[in-house]
Symmetry: C3
Subunit: 344 residues, 3 copies
């Protein structure tokens, strides 16, 4: 794809300062961009990187204009504008609609217009696949599942029975939606599996990363609200609700029946216990362990620092004495207060 | 499915207190259950939730009977009874036996009676699939593997060569059983792969969650004993042994050659080092890091609390001084003792 | 396979001390090895295990010869020698070259000599698969990907478009190479996906474990250098570079744009933040959290010990007071110094 700066500016609502007839065909970093490429500056702290750029144009805020030696595309939110420009320059590649002859699609399915079902897919009974969907190779969609319009399953994705996906859902390979929740009842030392009779409901514009697993509800549904973005290898347990526009980085896990608020930012390898509530607009930095509900928005963390192994070992051992140390400090404070009294 | 309370009571060994002719067709929570539904009370602390229930019946302990305004199904272990009732009301859906024409099954395989092999499965040489198995779409079973009777592989499951599954094993999508253990020998800075010549042995009644991986033994086998239940995205390394009836929640990992006892409860995102032994009846709460063997049954934990980021940062930094702090407290104690001596 | 000790010694550059005509057909541990089997001693601390061995021969260092009651194969690095011997005794099983009739291979692909493409594979446009590759069942290789000579994809592996694999790359089931990096730009509370236009470059002799995911670069590539060995369920984010001959154990995760040095050893469940640099020859023990760059080689750790739950709970609570404790110690030191002054 190829656009003039004028076309890009019109498409994203920006202003060109410089030659608006320049043609842009791809994106790159300030340091590596060449002629015909556009780059961006989203954080003023890095404006020095623009000094020697060979990019044809830079997306930036008006305040940073003076740092840019080439034509500028001025916007209020350069990172979002960059995303929009990149989506214009790199449109999603679509396969030609049709059902591949090797796909096994039950006759009872309802397949919308302009749908591609790739090789070796298996689509069960009464599945609804709405218009414009792209179902890549090797996907398994079990009975009664519903896939909303314009959704894309890249390939090797599994959607279990009765689950419901909204519109424009994007799912990467290896992801599993609707596997059984982990429900086991103990009967004298043996575990009896509890049937997981709920579903997974994925709302519009959700993205699900590679090999992320989202379990179906035990009773009632697991829900991922609109605009949520999940990275790879995340575990969402049964009856979790993830609030709209929350993002979650790789390998995080949410235990059963926890509710995550809207517009949260959850770092990588975070773990959240079950039956908790996380407020809206909460940021959890990477590796945070959450064992209690978080009731107010804000940034939260946990964990201890990386240290050279020997030094760590000493501090690690002392952790076991922490309560003891606290008590000894209190005793010392009393003794010293007494001694001070005497000294007067 | 639909049962009278009398039928359910007989099936699970409970006593109906109320109208035993009521017909039950599904389960629900106390708050959401309607006529025709049964719910349960497993923890007396929540008995208030029964007050306004519209359920037709409640499974509970005799002690909680008075809290229940509707017909009761009285049992000694309501959660296990609920599991049994739910299994009656929601029987596993079985596909009709047969080998789908798109499945690639080697002629040398031994396929039992009443087995379903779904579309696009690939079954290697000399595989044994015992009677009643359901092998869902896209499963890969390599040569010489054995699948015990009535086992269910939901779909997109990979069972590597020579691995052995017991009876009634249930495996969710994306799980991999028998991938190579992580064995590498260093030869002057380069790694030489060590062939992993052991197997994975999965005993009866094991459940394996979505995208969980269980590596084959290096020499000798990796063993998962009967009744073990593994959640999603768990990593079981080579030559691990997981004791019977142990449960493990999502994203936990067990490093090589560690032995986990029987009837353990291992929370989510737990990590256990290699070459350790965990006793029977050990509970590890979520996110616990285990670097040494656990020799006695009990509940164990590790980790530090979630805090607002600023407060955390201060405490996090102090962790590096913990050993120093401990020494300074000791010195202070000596000095204060000396001062007290002088003061006398 | 079956070799005399003389043949093995010649192949790996060792010296037989004893009967070099003994035939070896398999490997085992010192305790379980029987006649016809070879075992090894890589750590002198375990030499007692050789006392009662029934192995036909033992691979060991000259220094440990006296501890071995049977024929010895003397080498300088027994563990590496064991790996080499094991590779001779257990050669990788290869399928006969050819494209299975159920595989869907685009006409534009360039398939080398002696390549096996298994059942139900899907190979997109302009894919290059070099000579000697084994592409197991159910693999998905998207357009323009390149697979280097003698590489092995066991089965159910996904290689996304334009990614490049070197020679002798080995990938286990469920792994995903080239899924989209996690790039989202916030636009007034909604997230706009940023097209991930980089690739994944995997160099020669890399091994990738089951269900490990490696994301493609945002701009520029994600790179895994030669000889890297990755265990299962690892997450490598966009634009990460992993240095040559680094090993990484299961469930570790590396956030975006971080560079890992050469010859590092990264334990299981380690988490490394984004935009960091880890020096060469760094060892991170299991479960370490790395939030800052590591500039010098060495062994690093983080975390706190496992404790009985009650004891942990006390120390866990005290962690929130750590900064306060440190300040109180300082105050005490000043007060005591003052008291000592007065006492003089």
């Amino acid at each position: 794809m190829r656009f003039t700066l004028k076309e890009l500016a019109e498409a994203i609502g920006g202003v060109v300062d410089g030659d608006a007839t320049i043609e842009i065909e791809s994106i790159n970093t300030p340091a590596e961009a060449l002629s015909g490429q556009i780059t961006f500056l989203s954080d003023s702290r890095y404006k020095k990187e623009l000094e020697n750029t060979s990019a044809s144009a830079v997306i930036l805020r008006e305040d940073d204009r003076s740092a840019c030696p080439v034509t500028a595309l001025i916007v209020s939110n350069p990172y979002a504008a960059y995303a929009e420009v990149a989506n214009l320059l790199y449109p999603t590649q679509r396969e030609i609609a049709g059902i591949h002859p090797t796909a096994v699609v039950d006759d009872s399915c309802d397949i919308g217009a302009d749908v591609w079902i790739g090789p070796h897919c298996v689509i069960g009974r009464n599945v609804l696949i709405d218009s414009g969907c792209q179902i890549g190779p090797g996907c398994l969609i079990q009975q009664n599942a519903q896939i909303g319009a314009e959704s894309v399953l890249i390939g090797n994705v599994a959607i279990m029975h009765d689950c419901v996906l909204g519109k424009r859902v994007l799912i990467h390979p290896g992801a599993v939606v609707g596997s059984d929740g982990f429900g086991q009842a103990n009967d004298n030392g043996r575990w009896i599996k509890i049937p997981q009779v709920g579903r997974v409901i994925i709302n519009d514009d959700v993205e699900i990363g590679a090999s992320t697993t989202i379990d179906r509800g035990s009773i009632g549904d697991t829900v991922v609200e609109e605009g949520v973005k999940l990275d790879n290898l995340i575990h969402i347990a049964h009856n979790v609700r993830v609030g709209a526009h929350t993002v979650m980085a790789g390998q995080s896990g949410i235990a059963g029946s926890t509710t995550i608020g809207r517009n949260c930012m959850i770092g990588g390898q975070v773990g959240i216990s079950g039956h908790l509530t996380i407020a809206d607009n909460v940021t959890l930095t990477g590796r945070t362990t959450v064992l209690q509900s978080v009731k107010e928005s804000g940034v939260y963390s946990s964990g201890t620092p990386t240290e050279p192994n020997r030094q760590w070992h000493k501090n690690y051992t002392r952790f076991k004495q922490l309560d003891d140390m606290a008590k000894r400090i209190k005793i010392l404070e009393k003794l010293v207060a007494k001694l001070e009294g005497k000294g007067n």
